[in-house]
């Protein structure tokens, strides 16, 4: 018999995306065209699970004819991820937990228990008041009904809660026997604050009032200049100018959240548990593009360390290098590089919030464009990226290894330092973006190893 030894929830971090449409976003794939590696990725409809609203079972997995991100009535289709349970079994493989595997362990689907806990702690992060935390907890459940994620907060008006979406244990069937939960995020609404005694006109910006401004301080809160505990950047909330240069909160809140999906199963008298993570954020508005540096890159570095190892093949390094370049191209394609370079545009100096502006405002550095203004039209920058890819592939781009910014060079605001790659972008520490060290190392490995390969092929010694 195949015995279940341990459970895991996959993916370990699933991202939901907000939207008010009734029907979640269809499934699709995002593929690179091998003939045009820097062209936009191709989106193709993919088999999409249809979950019966009554039974909670999957009734089909058809592929839609076309992709639509909205419902045609001004509502965005939410992205509602599935999280699967996998089992580490006595034969030392990780395999999906299914009806058959449950049965082989004398278990039925109702032996699987779920619990989802999410929070929206944005207000508490500003006010430092734990009574401003908004939390939702489904408690344990084994049924297949939708379980609302009702965000509750001690500082809410009586009997009010923040809808943070819902979680549902998808009913397994012989056709779709996997054990999975679906997280459907919230609609993406803005909510407001009021006192019970307020006689105020409806604020058109909010769909409802949840926060009791008589209990908590969120409405009217102002980040205190000089407080080292402030968010960085500070003052990032909807507000209005207040006295002495303060930024005074309107008391708005949203329905984003993140948290844990727990699963529990008793096998042979032993309680097995596992958890995955979920979050709800805004839509990916350019779904055929991938950011240059992503949360997957962070976690990859945290798992494997900042250095390349024997496990990292040259082929893998080349794939990483090409992917970094592809992502850079995708960002450049959607960025007005002329503006972001700090050029004077339409007669306006300091035309936008750019690294040029930030460098001067934060450090007093001389205000000047990052590269020569004549070189940064989007068409020219895109062409440059195409050329770099061609050079990387032909093994003639060893110099590419040297133009990447190291993580400890982000404060190098010399002219040369600011021109390193990725250029024109801001990192998590507020200065010029560096890739993860692991990304940098793999790209350098790819760029430099190309020379070795070329030399080796020519028979020359290095």
């Amino acid at each position: 018999m195949t015995t279940i030894k341990e459970l895991r929830v996959l993916p370990p971090l699933a991202i939901g995306r907000l939207g008010a449409a009734t029907e979640p976003m269809d499934n699709y794939t995002c593929e690179v065209d091998p003939e045009q590696p820097l062209a936009p990725r191709r989106l193709r409809p993919a088999p999409t699970f249809r979950v019966d609203p009554d039974s909670g079972a999957i009734t089909g997995a058809d592929t839609p004819d076309e992709l639509r991100f909205t419902d045609g009535n001004g509502r965005v289709r939410p992205v509602a991820p599935f999280l699967e349970v996998w089992a580490l079994t006595s034969d030392d493989v990780l395999q999906p937990l299914t009806l058959d595997l449950l049965s082989a362990n004398d278990l039925t689907p109702d032996a699987v228990r779920w619990r989802v806990e999410v929070g929206n702690h944005k207000i508490q992060r500003r006010t430092y008041d734990d009574l401003d935390k908004i939390d939702a907890d489904t408690g344990w459940f084994s049924d297949h009904a939708p379980h609302a994620l009702m965000g509750r907060c001690p500082h809410f008006l009586d009997d009010r809660f923040l809808p943070l979406g819902h979680a549902r244990y998808v009913k397994p069937t012989p056709e779709f026997p996997g054990i999975r939960l679906r997280f459907t995020p919230a609609a993406g609404y803005v909510y407001g604050s009021r006192r019970p005694t307020d006689d105020i006109e409806d604020d058109p910006n909010v769909v409802d009032y949840l926060y009791d401004a008589a209990k908590g301080t969120w409405r009217g809160h102002a980040d205190r200049a000089g407080d080292p505990r402030l968010t960085i950047p500070a003052n990032i909330y909807a507000g209005d100018d207040g006295p002495k240069g303060t930024w005074v909160s309107r008391g708005y809140l949203d329905d984003e959240c993140d948290g844990l999906v727990r699963v529990q199963l008793e096998v042979g008298g032993q309680e097995l548990t596992a958890f995955g993570r979920i979050g709800a954020g805004p839509p990916a508005y350019a779904p055929d593009s991938i950011p240059i540096r992503t949360i997957a890159d962070e976690l990859d570095q945290a798992l494997h360390g900042p250095s390349a190892s024997d496990q990292d093949t040259l082929e893998h390094a080349r794939d990483v290098a090409e992917e970094v370049l592809r992502r850079a191209t995708e960002t450049v394609r959607l960025m007005n590089t002329e503006v972001m370079n700090g050029n004077t545009v339409d007669g306006r100096v300091d035309a936008a919030s750019t690294m040029v502006r930030q460098d001067t405002a934060d450090t007093g550095r001389l205000y000047e464009p990052i590269v020569a203004p004549s070189l940064v039209d989007s068409a020219a920058v895109l062409a440059l990226h195409q050329n770099v890819l061609a050079a990387l592939r032909s093994g003639t781009a060893p110099w590419f290894a040297d133009v990447l910014r190291d993580h400890d060079e982000v404060g190098d605001l010399t002219a040369k330092g600011r021109r390193k790659m990725p250029a024109l972008m801001r990192g998590a520490d507020g200065r010029h973006l560096a890739l993860t060290r692991r990304q940098v190392e793999l790209v350098r490995l790819a760029a430099r190893q190309e020379i070795f390969r070329q030399d080796d092929e020519s028979g020359e010694t290095r």
């Binding site: 341990e6 895991r8 993916p11 370990p12 991202i15 976003m25 936009p40 045609g72 009535n73 001004g74 509502r75 991820p81 996998w86 580490l88 395999q95 299914t98 939390d135 910006n205 950047p233 990032i236 909330y237 909807a238 809140l253 993140d258 844990l260 958890f275 805004p282 839509p283 508005y285 350019a286 779904p287 593009s289 950011p291 540096r293 992503t294 949360i295 997957a296 976690l299 570095q301 945290a302 798992l303 360390g305 250095s307 959607l334 960025m335 007005n336 936008a352 919030s353 450090t363 001389l366 000047e368 993580h407 400890d408 605001l413 600011r418 972008m425 998590a428 520490d429 993860t436 060290r437």
Partner: protein, 292 residues
Amino acid sequence: MSDDRIDPMNLTAQLHYNAAGNPPSTLPESAISNAYPGLEFDIRNIWRRLLVGIELHESDNYVVSADRGHENLVGRRLLSVGDHDVIGTVVGPIRPGAGSAPLTSAANPDGVMMLEWSNSLADVLADHVGQTVPCLFTVDPAPNPVGKPEELPDPRFQVVELEVRPLFAGSAATGGYLPVIAEELAGPGDLTRGLCSPWQNDYRECACYYWAASRPDYVNVEDTAMGTTTGNHWFAVHREPREYVLDDRFDSRLVSYDDLFQDWQGKLRFIVGGNDAPEHLDAGTEPKGDSR
């Protein structure tokens, strides 16, 4: 299920696993990590509790709280962990034609900055989990940035040994890690707490385009006879004329704060291949109204 089997030790495969039915926008590789403060998550928060006994600011080398026994570290600054500095210098020119020098100010007399945790603590995480490491702190509370002394010991600084916590949860069956961020590092709400409230405000407020692959800037771009390009600002209410309206929160040609609070779903357009998605063209040039 998408695949039949995964090697339980293959954490990369598990981390990148795409469950059946999930589009790619559910994956961590679709989420930005140059979090300042972030879009989907403020991922900087996973590092706050890496050192046992203290809680760091998610994006500064400042100790915001501490467990019993380490209360004296609250308000101080952490400068290095083991052999790895968590601060760097800020240098550049201040006048045209001048050379570069440390960029100092009254609030930053040493001209230094904190280096994001993900990169500055990467070696510590790789080499020292479960071990104690010498951590260099200022002796006094330091609300402003402080540079590292040229020589140690220095009476203004103190070394404190702290244990490094694992970032990932552990597997009892394999004795190794699982590819999920440990509960001790981040609880519910921790990964989004630093994001703008509401997030719609940040879409207008920031007006910067460091996340163009998620939140586009320059769309419907076409070549001009001059050999340059023209196109729309993503926030342009109208797509004709095809010109880039410079960001200005008071310019009625661009989507406003109130537009986003009230009807972001109707005002913002998905971009495919650099252009407005066909469904927006089908619907005409004017987005449909209030989505509530």
